[in-house]
Each structure stands twice: as structure tokens, then as C-alpha cells.
Amino acid sequence: MAWLVVRLAISVSLLYAASAVFEDQVGKFDWRQQFIGKVRFALFDTHSQASKKLLVATDKNVFASLNSRTGDLFWRHVDKTGPEGHIDALLMYGQDAVVVVGNGRLLRSWETTVGGLKWETVLDTGSFQAAALVGVQDLVKYVAVLKKSAISLHDLSSGSQIWGENLPDSDSVQYQTIYSGENGLVFVLGIVPNSHIVIVEYKIEDGEIMNKKSVEAAWMSSLESSCAVVSSGILLCVDQITQSLYTLPLQSAEQTEMRQIHLQMLDLEVASGFRPVLTSTQPNPAQPPLSEFFLQLSPDHHILLQFKDGLIALLRDFSPSYLAAFATSGERTVAAVMSPKNDTACSINLFSADTGRKHLDTTIIYHMDPNGGKPNRLYVHAFLKKDDSVGYRVMVQTEDLTLTFLQQPGRVVWMREEALADVVTMEMVDLPFTGTQAELEGEFGKKAAIQDGLLPMVLKRLSSQFILLQAWLAHLWKLFYDARKPRSSVKHEVTIDILSRDEFNLQKMMLMVTASGKLFGIDSKSGTILWKQYLENIQPNSVFKLIVQRTTAHFPHPPQCTLLIKNKDTGLGSLYVFNPIFGKKSQISVPTLPRPVLQTLLLPVIDQDYAKVLLLIDDQYKVTAFPSTKNVLQQLQDTASSIFFYLVDSSQGKLSGFRLRKDLSTELIWEVVIPTEVQKIVAVKGKRANEHVHSQGRVMGDRSVLYKYLNPNLLAVITESTDTHQERSFVGIFLIDGVTGRIVHEAVQRKARGPVHFVHSENWVVYVYWNSKFRRNEFSVLELFEGAELYNSTVFSSLDRPHAPQVLQQSYIFPAPINTLEATLTEKGITSRHLLVGLPSGNILSLPKMFLDPRRPELVSEQSREENLIPYAPEMPIREEWFINYNQTVSRVRGIYTAPSGLESTCLVVAYGLDIYQTRVFPSKQFDVLKDDYDYILISSVLFGLFFATMISKRLAEVKLLNRAWR
């Protein structure tokens, strides 16, 4: 009995878990891709020949290890965002990687095989300048960290500080670099811009200042950008104005002036306006750098030079050459140089560093993506082959943040699209029909019907039916053929050509716009990148808005998307029109936008080619229509008086409404001003245009109906108080009709502050804020109802809705911070809604909207039970099984996108941040789909059994009747 009770308890608890994903469903319809961001430091593990590790540190404050054979992540550490987690330096020695984090706040050592933290030291305050490994007698033992006014030396194995010294005259001298050679000294180089260089020598053992000198260098403004250390402690600097190199032995006491070597003597010249760059290499920190170095004279001109006995010798001139890099394997150092081959390809060659001689058969051809950016970083991994020759692989990073790993003779080993680590906005577009489906569609096109007579139509019909039959047979054959093969080998590649809409429209094209200006078309089922397009000359602070103007539903017209790219500072925008399925730029002429764009408006008005009309409003309130054909302009003139739009000026706290005039000018019709002294507008959201609401009201316990206030023009405006004192701060919520400017509801959440995340849908608004009094996150839900009677049930007009809605509101405690909030969306809106909450932990919580219902009663009554209302509880539960992404956490989730599928029960979800995660959710379970483990055999055997049973019994009955008749 006890067993039974326990089992019962377990099965009851399992009933709850049933809403989550089953183990065998993992990865079936969901996928995750992890990214790292733009690589700032990349180091190959040269510790052992067989090592596959590639350590990278990125601008997204990510420190990771990549598998250099596959490009997959071995491990990844995501630090805090912003300057606190900024990775300042990455040094590697043997199995250890030393990282300086947060502008010199922390010094960490990582074990590179598994990514475990070995030690961490908190450094003294002061802004970080440089870090270097310090070796003593061929052994690297220490790491030196240079701050603005101090230097400290730490033990490499434990992190403990050996010594720390304040730098002399640190208020006037800018110390910028550290150098350590073989002789037990650490040199700290500082500069007084346009005056002199300061060199301080420290003894490694105890930090004693051995020597301090200053050298005249009136032409120099920065050490870091113009100098390098070559050979055994020779400081080498380059100046573009005098077109010369300067050398200075760091250690010599007698030389107090830099020696000038004119570049002219080497027959070289720096391109005008280009800042020359010196690149040296120090393969082993315990030994002095090599005497060879690269000098870059123009963007496509590198020179390999050698410093020997006080003289500079030219080893090889690489012109043209885009990129050059050193790499060391064992005792041999090589230089890889990328030079242009033709318009679409570059060749990378290997040269021995000490002579400049070209290695034979070492060419790698790098094919540049015509839709991508130019290469801008080159990382070389050199290794010794069995015959003692040097082999190499390269990793190329391009402007559009693509990492390509190549090996000879140009085979792409792997590729990573790191632009996807920063997705700004996205859309999902239906895939087109297959050719046969399109054929059928085309048959009933109106043009065809007019042209052809009766007989051709019949023939056409028959032929298309025949094509369908053919396609079906081919499909059957393929099924049969695939079924015979083992499951693992049936792995079809997804390509753009075979892509077509599936039965339930579950597979869609994901359009992703990234901050770097690269567009991606991704198959939502597998996550394969089907096309990519890099838009050049995108300002880093641009804002993007992606608009789907024509869906795939209008065959033979191709689908059309428009991307509005707007410069945040100037407000000037430009349009990029493309086909979302193939990523090709459309040939349609695009209006030029000479004035800053304030607002865009996608109208339901369509032109003769079924493209929705986009209105762009500039800062003089003039409207540009796109497309602007005669047909469109005529339609706009006819409907102008019913086209309204709103503008928000948060700097003045002003919301204003405009109406379109027949001549495409506008008139101001309403104005609401929220004084900026008290509160500022932080966000304005309308409802999604593709949202459907199935039921107009809610059936109450007493069988009456409470009608929803479904105003499609309603705007939710969120404000935050300017006073941030915890007792006086507040969050304001205004619900404003976007057509009439009527404030439908106005509420104040006291002792609250942002950041506010909110969702506005159907007849409700859900928002999350921080309660500054109780120090917790709280959810609040507002629902609007018209009451027991509907004012005008056939059509909604903002101009004719005189009664204010009833507003119900309730708040709840949410026991976790929140990153982002979105609501599920389904085809017809029958399925109950869930809220998708992106948590900082990377989980995505699917919270039933049922829990956020302002009608949840304090006390349970018969009527509330009838209505299925959950009794009010102040705390919102978080159940583990509500996490839709189980252990596939999405780092730094920034946005969630939801799209309806062809199945009413199913909503497609994409969460993006540092990672991208795609899945499906079923808010009301899969009520319109048979389960995966549905017992087809049982049901069909029962059916057949019954069928035969009736046949037999019928026969028996007949026999019996006959027998009786004979009697």
C-alpha cells in the first residue's frame, strides 16, 4: 500500500512534467548554435603537435577554446557584459592561458584542456596598459602587468604577486609597453607625447629599479602604435612624417638619442595618409624577439625587413599584399602573406622569416565570398611535418566577422559566422511552394483564365495533374529507397533548391539582421545558413527595421523584404530591398531618402503586384510611399482620410498623431505631452499586425459574457520617473489610442523602476519592473474589457468608441530577474497564450498567461471554479519543466521572436542573444496532432478486426436466416 502511495505520488508529479520535452524529443525539432563574437585575440596551441586547441578572446567578453579541426567549441566562458568583463589581454604559455579582465581588474589563469580556472588574482586599481610573460633563463615563470601608474609581477603557477612597484613620474609619463628579454630585466616604456621616451629597467627578482633614462623623441605621439621591439632589445619605431625608422638599444647606457634611418635609403615610401605599422615576433617570451619584422607601408603593401648589426636590410617586398603574420613551430619561424590573386580569390604563401625565401608548394587559395567582406585578420598555425618541412593552416577573419579556417591547397575546413552573435532584428518568412505546387497555383492565375479557352484549360489541368502524380510517385520511391538504407546515412543536405513549404508550414526561412550589417537567411528546421549578404558601409550605430512587404503567397511574384537602415545620429536612412528566400537584391528602384526618417508604416493597401505599401515619414512630416506606382498613389488618395500614424519624441515627452492628406502631406490631429521633468518615455509598443484573436469575450461563471476591449490601434507607453530615489521613483503606464490620442488608461506603479519589459497583445499588457522598496522583480498584468455588452460588434473604429473600457489589474512577485519577454503567437489565436520569459541564466520560461490573469480571485467561489480561475497567489511559480530549452541555455538572451505555424497548436520560437535557439512550443499541448508514439498498429488492427468480424457475422447471420427459413 505504501508502495502504491509513493508510486501514485511519483506518477502525479510526472503528470506535471509531461508538459516538458521528453528525452527522445531532444533535438528533434529544436537546435542551438553557439557563438563567440568578433575575435580580438586568437592563439593556437603549439604546445604539442597533435593539439587541436585554438584559444580565442572576443569583443563580446567571451573566452573560448575552439576545435581547430571542426570549428566546434570545446568550452566557452561568458563574462559580464560591458567594460567589467572586457578582456584586455590574452597570453598563453604551455597549458596555461593568462587573461587580464575588466580593465586590469582581474588576472586569471585557465587550464586550456578543459577550461578550468587555475587561479584568479584581484589586481590593484588602475587602468590597464599592457601585460607580458617574463622568462628567466629559458623558463617562463612570471607574468608582468603594467597599469597606468604601477607595475606588478605575478607568479605564473600560483598567481601570487612577487612584487609591485609604483612607476616614477606616472602623472606626466604615459607608460604603455613592457618588454622582457633574456637578461633578467623588465623594461617599462613610457612616453611624454611629442617630447621624449622614458625607459625604466626593473630587476625581475625584487623589482628594484636598475636604471632609468629618457630619450628625445619629439615626433612621437604614441609608443604602442608606432614602435616594436626587435632583436635583442632594440626599440624600433616608425614615423610617417619624416619617413624614417628610429632605433634604440634599450640597455645601452651611452646612447641617448634614437638613430634615424631614412626609408628612402631602402627605396621605400609610406603611402600618404597611412600610418605605418610595425609587426615583430617573439616566439619564446624567455628569449629575445627575432630580428626580422614586417613593416606595412600602405593598406596593401608589406615589407619583410631584418635588423642586423645596427643596419636594416630588406628581405622581401610584398606588393601587393593584404595581410601578413608570423608563426612559429619549434625553432622555425615563418611568415604568411596574403596577396590578391584575382577579383574573387587571394593566395596565401609561406616564407621563411630569416631569409624571406618562399617555401615551395605552400600556396593556399582563399576564395572571397562575393557577398561577404574583405579579410582583415590573419592567424597562422604552423606545424612541422614528418619530413621536417613546415606546414600551416590559417584562420582568416573578415570585416563581416566570418572566421574561415583553411588548409592547403585551399580547402575550407570550417567556417563560423560570428556576426550572428549580435542579431538585432529578425523575421520569419514562409517558404515557397515546390515547382509542382506552383504549377497548380499558376494554372488558376487570372491572366491564364482570360487568355485560354475551355479546351486548353482542360488540357492544362490534366497535364498538371499528371505532374502531381509523377511527383507523388517519385516521393514514394524516395521514401521506399530511404527506408532500406540505414538511418544514419539518410542525412540529406539542406540546399536552397530543394527548399519548399512542408505540410504544416513548420519549416520557415529565418531572416536575421546583425549589428555588423550582415543579413542571413537560415532554414528554421536545421539551422543551416542558406544565404548571407554583407551590406558594406554600415555605420556601427545604425538601427535596422525589417519589413516583409510581400509574402510567398503571391506566386509568381517573388516575396519581397525591405530593410530600413537608419543612422542613429543623423537619422538618415536608406532602403535595401531583397528576396528573403534567395537573398538576392531586388531590382526595384528604391526611393532616396534625403531627410531623416521618423516613422515607418506598413499599410494593408497592396499594389497591383501584391506588395504592401510602406510609408516613410520624414522630419518635415512629408510622406514617401514605397512602392509609389500610380495605382498605389490612387489608392492612397482614396483612403487617405483613414490613414493615421503617430510619432514619439521622447526627448520632449511628446506623442503626436497625424492624418494623411490626399496630396501625401500630413496634418497634426492630436498631441499628448508628458512633461520630461517628471518622467521620460522609455518604450512605446503597439500590437503585432499579424495577431489574431479568436474569441471576442470571456464566458463567466454565470454564463454571461465579458467582452474584451480589442482596440487594434492601442499603444502602450511606458515611462520611468526622472527621480530615482527608491521611495519616489515610479513607472508609468499609459494606454493611448493611436488614432484619436485618447488616453484610455493611465496607471502609476509606485516605488518601481526599470528596466521595464512588456508585452502588448489582445486586450492585455503585461509588464515587468523592479520593485525598489522590496527589491524584487514584479509582474503586473492589465486587462481591458468593454463590459457585458459590446458597443459595436461588427467593426471596431477608434473614432466611434465613446465608452472607456473597464481596466483590471493585478501584480505578482517573480522570483528571478528577466532579460526579455515575448508572447506566443498562433495562426488563429484559438490556442491559449503563454509568455516566454528569457532569464539571465539562459533559460526560457514558458509561463501560461492563465497565471497572469487579473481576475484571479482572492477567495475561491463556485463561479471562479466554473471559469477555471486559479486562486490568487502573490508569487509566480517557476517550474523547471516550463523551461522550453531544457539544458540548451541561450547566453545573454536579448530577444525572442515568435511566429505562427500552419498548425494551430504550434508556435515557432527563436531566442537570440550570444546564441541562437530555435524550437516549437505547444501552449495548449498538441491538440491537433497525433502523438509521436501513437499506436497506429493497434488502431488499424482493431479497425480491421471489427471489419472482418462484421463480415463474418453478417455471413453467419445470413446462413442462420437461411437455415431458419428451411426449417
Binding site: 500500500m1 505631452v673 512633461p675 519616489r728 488616453i743 493611465e746 473614432l799 489589474q809 512577485i813
Partner: protein, 251 residues
Amino acid sequence: MATIRVLSLILSVLSSITLLWTQSGECNNGRRSEDAVDTDFSGFSVPLEHSFEVDDVPRFHLRGVLQFRGGRELGVYLSQNLLSEKDRITLKDVAAVDGLYRIRVPRVSLQVDRQTERQSEGYLTTFVRACSLVESHLSDVITLHTDVSGCVVGISIVTIPGSCRGIEVEDEVDLEVFNTTISVMAPVTAPVPETAPYIERMEQEMEKKGKNPQEQKSFFAKYWYLILGGAVFLMATSSAQTPPGGVREQS
């Protein structure tokens, strides 16, 4: 007919309807409202202007005067003029072309003690379709919305009924006097999670449970006889047959 007209004339001068603040205490924070009581409030007034033009270019002129009374019982009164013969004709013309009837008020603060620092730049405007105003016989509802500090942030106007059905209206009688309901709406305070009543309710339930001694018993105390019976049964069966795989799990 004439008598009605005279009556309406008399009434029109006083046609003002007052509504009180929906939440007088909430709008101002406590300290300020007490100050307001202490200060000598005489109230103040702002103009309410309207515009209705056939060419749809707004030209505002005075419709009436909004009078505010400060203090705890902050109220608003609207005294407005009659529509002149010319205005009536214009309004009907505007209604015929489906033009707009706009109103505006200057941006003011309703806080009496803040009158000195009140900024008067800018207006708050809104509109209603002229035909619906005509068809509703000039009966409209005007609402002024204020923010937490008592500054007017928005104005809205609706007519009751709000639809345009193209009904003929006799201008003589119906388009002379505004039948206006005016109110001031301050933001409502949004509720916070109600923990205290919930805890109270939970405690009550606990008490209720506590009264029932049957519920208080532990699991073993309640079901000892079943467990004992089960154990005896298990022992009896295992000793009787001793199956090869030990005691089989019952499902």
C-alpha cells in the same frame, strides 16, 4: 418654440457640469496636498478653444473657460458660450465633408501652489469627427488627463453616441448649446502583489486544519494498520513460495 429657445438661452450660460477628481489624494503626494489646503486657493481658469473649418486648416477660437478649484476637493467647471448662427452653419458644413472638430487646451499644471512656475508653452490637442458632434446634438464628454504631479498631459473628447449615420439635425434647437460632461482623470495607482491577505488566508487554512486532529497525524500513524498488514502479507507470501528472483516488485 420660442419658449424653448429662451429657456435654452438661460440654461446655456450655466451649462456646466462638474465632476470631482477621481482620486484626489493619490495624484499629489501627501505633503503637497496638505500644503494646498493651507494655501489660500482661489482657483484659476484656462481657455478651452475649438476649431472647425471646411478647408481643415485649424483656426482656434474660444469655446469656453475651464475653471479649476484647488484644494482637497479639486473640481473643474466649464462655462461655455453658445454657438453662433455662423458657427452652426460652418459646423454643419464641416460635418457634411467629414471634417474634424478639434479642441485644445494649454499645457498647465493643476497644482495650485505650482501656478507660479506653470509653463504655458504648447497646447494639447485632440479631435472628434464633426459629423458625430452634430449628430449627437453637441453632447460630448471631455476628459483631461494629468500625470502624477498634476500636470495636464492629454485631453480627449468623445461624443455620445459616437457614430455618424447621416441623420438630419435641426440646427436651431440642437446645435446651440453644448451638453458637456467634463472630468479630470489622475493616474490610478497600480496594485502591488498582495502578500498580507494571502498569508492571512493561508494561516486561516492552517488553523482550520489544526482543528481537525485527523489531519495532524503523521503518515505512519494514519496508515500503520495497512503497512503492518502489507508487511505480514509480504512475509507470508515470500515464506510460502520463495521465488527464484527474490521478492518481485508489485506494480
